[in-house]
């Protein structure tokens, strides 16, 4: 026993372990910082550890070669023992890391921890966010499948919009003029060497600052931070209410860590790994590329912006956001910390969460994208065909064959790029429909050159019949209205009243 004790003392003397402990894990923190709201930082770090361990495991099998990466992904998923699970852990670990990091950032923002004297802690945290998103994007490319291929195409197309340097930046990103093996090698180096190295260095810096400037005390509403007095006040809090982080304040972090680990494990086990989808080649032209979850909202922004704003927002947005995040601790350096007295901060967070949440949802549903297979696969309800004349039925068939359904749903079935045609007869008159089909407009292509006059007539004859029972068909407001029919079986009459449109095709 004595020998053991001596041995321990020897190591302590040579390695200064006690001192190291006191200065790091055992450093004093305000007692009230042992809060459930303060667990997200350590939980993010835990995710990083999961990513490093699983990432090293994946690198044991994965071959970062343009010709072989895709095959090794399938090998990992299907043949390598537990390969699918390691892939799933790495994928879900990444999702958890981004989410928990966002929660950590939100908490730090709402609890005013970015204010004096922790400005650099906040800024280094923002840099960590950027690197983490960089890791998420480069990781998505290493899953070298069709989504990765087109994801690179989208990334390059965004970079190409940079004024003056666009072309050069694209070549720098792709490692050449075109997406090829060098592109993958480049992203492999970034994902496996450069970004992990940077993130570890920055995490070290971030934690060092946490030790230097202390954990933010749980803010009390009404207590103001003042540059002149804060250091002394914080010191007094530590004197009066300070406890060593280990073992007195770590319990909730430990519980949270356990929950996060179980969460990653459960998601990996239940939902499995993501992809790989089709092979990484441009020949995969029936691809419907979608980015990974952290970038889905940006994908949605790119669809919803008017084109004159697109370059400005896509390129300027991140720069402005970066400037704002770095400037934040200097804009509001002092004053109230508690979110209970900072309504604008609370509203900002709610707005951002709603915006990103809704955009992400839109990204997954992509109502702006044509449904590429609707013209062959979308069914048409009985009520939209029953009782039609042969000419109208010919129109219905044209609507299908001419691929109108890729953009237009009927009764909710089909693409959602354009308006649902299920009730178009109640909204537009025959001449209006003919004009719209022939000339297009309002984001619809013109079909005048692709349809014969008789095809247009058939289409219009069918479309004016599309309105719900009891809803009268649209009528020309310059023509006096006919008195409404007394019985409710009016649609049939209405159909008869619409003469086959006389469309002049110039």
């Amino acid at each position: 026993m004595k020998t053991l004790r001596n041995l321990a003392l020897w190591f302590d003397d040579r390695l200064h372990l006690t001192k190291l402990f006191e200065e790091t894990a055992g450093h004093p923190v305000p007692k009230n910082a042992g809060s459930w709201f303060y667990v997200f930082g350590s939980a993010t770090l835990l995710c990083l550890v999961v990513q490093i361990v699983t990432g090293i495991c994946l690198a044991l099998v994965y071959v970062p070669s343009g010709g072989e990466a895709y095959t090794t992904l399938w090998y990992l998923t299907l043949n390598q023992d537990l390969g699918w699970f390691l892939r799933a852990l790495h994928n879900w670990g990444s999702n958890f890391m981004v989410c928990i990091m966002m929660l950590h950032m939100t908490q730090v923002f709402l609890w005013g921890a970015y204010k004096y004297p922790r400005e650099m802690t906040w800024i280094s945290g923002c840099a960590l966010l950027v690197i983490t998103l960089g890791l998420a994007f480069t990781g998505q490319v290493l899953r070298f499948d069709e989504d990765a291929y087109w994801g690179l195409g989208i990334g390059a197309s965004i970079l190409a919009r940079t004024p003056f340097l666009g072309d050069k930046l694209v070549h720098l990103m792709l490692g050449g003029p075109i997406i090829a093996a060098d592109t993958l090698s480049r992203f492999f180096s970034l994902h496996v060497f450069v970004l992990p190295g940077l993130i570890l260095a920055l995490v070290g810096f971030h934690l060092r600052l946490v030790l230097l400037k202390g954990i933010n005390e749980y803010p009390k509403p009404g207590v103001q931070v003042r540059r002149k007095t804060y250091d002394a006040e914080y010191h007094a809090i530590l004197e009066k209410d300070g406890v060593p982080f280990v073992p007195k304040a770590i319990s909730k972090d430990l519980v949270a860590a356990g929950i996060v680990l179980i969460g990653i494990f459960a998601c990996a086990a239940i939902f499995g790994p993501k992809g790989p989808t089709g092979p990484p080649t441009a020949m995969q032209i029936d691809s419907v590329p979608r980015p990974d979850a952290p970038f889905m909202w940006i994908f949605a922004v790119a669809a919803l912006l008017p084109d004159y704003l697109e370059d400005v927002v896509i390129l300027g947005g991140p720069v402005l956001l970066g400037i704002f995040l770095v400037a934040l601790p200097f804009i509001s350096n002092e004053g109230e910390k508690s979110w209970r007295r900072r309504p604008i901060a609370v509203v900002t967070v709610i707005f951002l969460y709603l915006a990103i949440g809704l955009l992400t949802r839109f990204g997954y549903t992509s109502p702006w994208s044509p449904d590429m297979n609707a013209w062959t696969s979308a069914s048409i309800g009985k009520e939209y065909l029953e009782g039609r004349t042969p000419l109208e039925l010919a129109g219905a068939s044209l609507l299908q064959v001419k691929q109108c359904r890729n953009c237009h749903a009927i009764g909710g079935v089909g693409g959602h790029r354009g308006p649902d045609l299920g009730d178009v007869g109640a909204r537009m008159t025959a001449p209006q429909l003919a004009r719209q089909i022939i000339q297009g407009g309002g984001n619809m292509p013109a079909y005048g050159k692709n349809l014969t006059p008789s095809e247009v007539s058939a289409l219009v004859a069918y479309m004016v019949t599309l309105h719900s029972k009891g809803v009268p068909p649209a009528r020309d407001s310059t023509v006096p209205a006919t008195p409404p029919p007394s019985n409710q079986q009016q649609p049939k009459e209405a159909k008869i009243s619409v003469s086959p449109p006389r469309v002049s095709l110039r």
Partner: protein, 176 residues
């Protein structure tokens, strides 16, 4: 720089000036050596930044393999491909033969954000699956977010073969 500065002793004037000299020499030597090592590294990483890629003529196949008045998918090998490129070396493009030897060859990449556009022969439109860009059969923009029409390759017919000039990823900054 470091906390433990070497004690300068004013009485040993010549010794201190030798230390100063050595320090300056050391710093200078390292700047020079750093540049010697650093410049090639930067040049290596950024070589694609400096070098202007040259487009090359690529054979797309016999003219008669493309029916008149039709638009067909064709494929070519990236002219700069290497053995380890795998499937990424295969690049598709849409070939539209008008009449005789008049061709239009479009890049597969949407002018908006580069997704693969698909040809729909019945409606004679190219549709993009990402953000709903639409183009007419002649490549001009029909609807959606693209800021311009489809990217078009330079073409020529020589020896009964159709040739296009390609070799870069078509984007708004650089297109064939």
């Amino acid at each position: 720089m470091s906390e433990g500065k070497p004690p300068t002793q004013p009485e040993e004037g010549d010794k201190s000036s030798r230390r100063d000299f050595l320090l300056k020499l050391g710093v200078g030597l390292n700047i020079a050596a750093g540049a010697m090592v650093g410049i090639p590294v930067v040049g290596y990483v950024f070589s694609s930044f400096i070098k202007k890629p040259e487009l090359q003529w690529i054979d797309l196949g016999k003219v008669n393999s493309f029916p008149e008045e039709e638009t067909k998918l064709a494929k070519y090998k990236n002219p700069l491909h290497r053995p380890w490129d795998g499937e990424t070396a295969d690049i598709p493009c849409w070939v539209r033969r008008l009449k005789g030897e008049s061709f239009q060859v479009f890049a597969i990449n949407c002018a908006h954000l580069g997704c693969p556009v698909r040809w729909f022969s019945e409606s004679k439109l190219f549709l993009c699956p990402c953000h709903g860009g639409v183009y007419y059969q002649d490549g001009s923009r029909a609807a959606g977010p693209p800021p311009r029409g489809l990217f078009e390759y330079e073409t020529k017919v020589e020896g009964g073969q159709l040739w296009i000039k390609g070799g870069v990823l078509p984007t708004l900054a650089n297109n064939p």
